[in-house]
Amino acid sequence: MVTSSIVAKPLSHAEAPPADPVESRLEQLIEREFAFVWRLLRRVGVTEDDADGAAEQVFIAVARRLPDIRLGNERAFLIGTALHVAARSRRTSESAAVVGPLASSLADSSEARHACALLDALLQQLPFELRVVFVLFEIEQLSTPEIAQVVGVPLDAVNARLSRARDEFSELTKHLEASAPAGAADE
């Protein structure tokens, strides 16, 4: 239906045909948002091994629905789809990241990989809806109105969730720093 109109569109110029607008929009979207979607998937519980495939699923869903997605609304669609794919992925492979072993080597948290694993273990302690808001605000640095728009909840609810998530996260990190061996928290 939509695609046939694209295919049947007469060429206005004699030179090379213009690139398919849907395809070029999709390519731009993937190049611009892939890292964002991949990181979001990782932070909401998808393992590193599964993150590539999960991100691919998200963009295939986008590719199939792109003509229906309004311009400027892509991120909301991507986040919604990513959270859905992440929920499925977490159901099929419950990652058992635990804080204990990671916390014992806090000195290594300067190493990015280890820090991310520790962060994921901490984030898993938060309820899912708090985790999503926390990740979007603290890591992806979206504003609260943006989060309200893309998650589809009122701004007051976003602020309440964010406040709870920050309190719980701060509590967790303080507890971790306090329980870590002396000097381990410092490099």
């Binding site: 892939f34 991949w38 199939r64």
Partner: protein, 148 residues
């Protein structure tokens, strides 16, 4: 309402800052981006030319295997505006309305034509008598034969 300061920039503590900065810096491999580009292109190609078999490359196969998950995922997303689904639902309603109207018209025509066949003789006569002009009282009853 002013925006809250972020933990990594403000009061989150050293550990929170390091963890959040590490997460911000994490990035996917370039190969994953390339693979996704290829799979998404395959998905759009299969949308554009539904009757032509798409070459079964590994990417395409993967895309097709993931179709069920992907479509289910996209269907549950708010603000996705499923125009195609809505228009097909509307088309279905219009189609059934048209079928109903045609059926009603056929039944009406049949009933009207059969009503005359199955009508009672008396009512048929009365309807015939009503349509004839009333006989004149002044006219001769023998049709004018007696005057000859």
């Amino acid at each position: 309402m002013s925006e809250l300061p972020r933990l990594a920039e403000d009061s989150g503590g050293e550990l929170a800052r390091r963890l959040i900065e590490a997460a911000r810096a994490e990035a996917p491999r370039a190969a994953a981006v390339e693979r996704t580009l290829a799979a998404a292109r395959a998905a759009t190609i299969s949308l554009h030319v539904p009757d032509v078999p798409v070459p079964a490359t590994a990417q395409t196969e993967l895309a097709l295997n993931q179709e069920a998950i992907a479509s289910e995922a996209s269907a549950s997303v708010p603000n996705s505006a499923p125009i195609a689904a809505r228009s097909s639902a509307l088309g279905l309603v219009v189609k059934w309305l048209a079928i109903g109207a045609m059926f009603g018209a056929i039944v009406s025509i049949a009933a009207y034509s059969l009503s005359d066949v199955f009508a009672l003789p008396a009512s048929r006569e009365s309807s015939v008598g009503q349509s004839k002009p009333a006989p004149s009282l002044t006219a001769p009853s023998d049709g004018g034969k007696g005057t000859q």
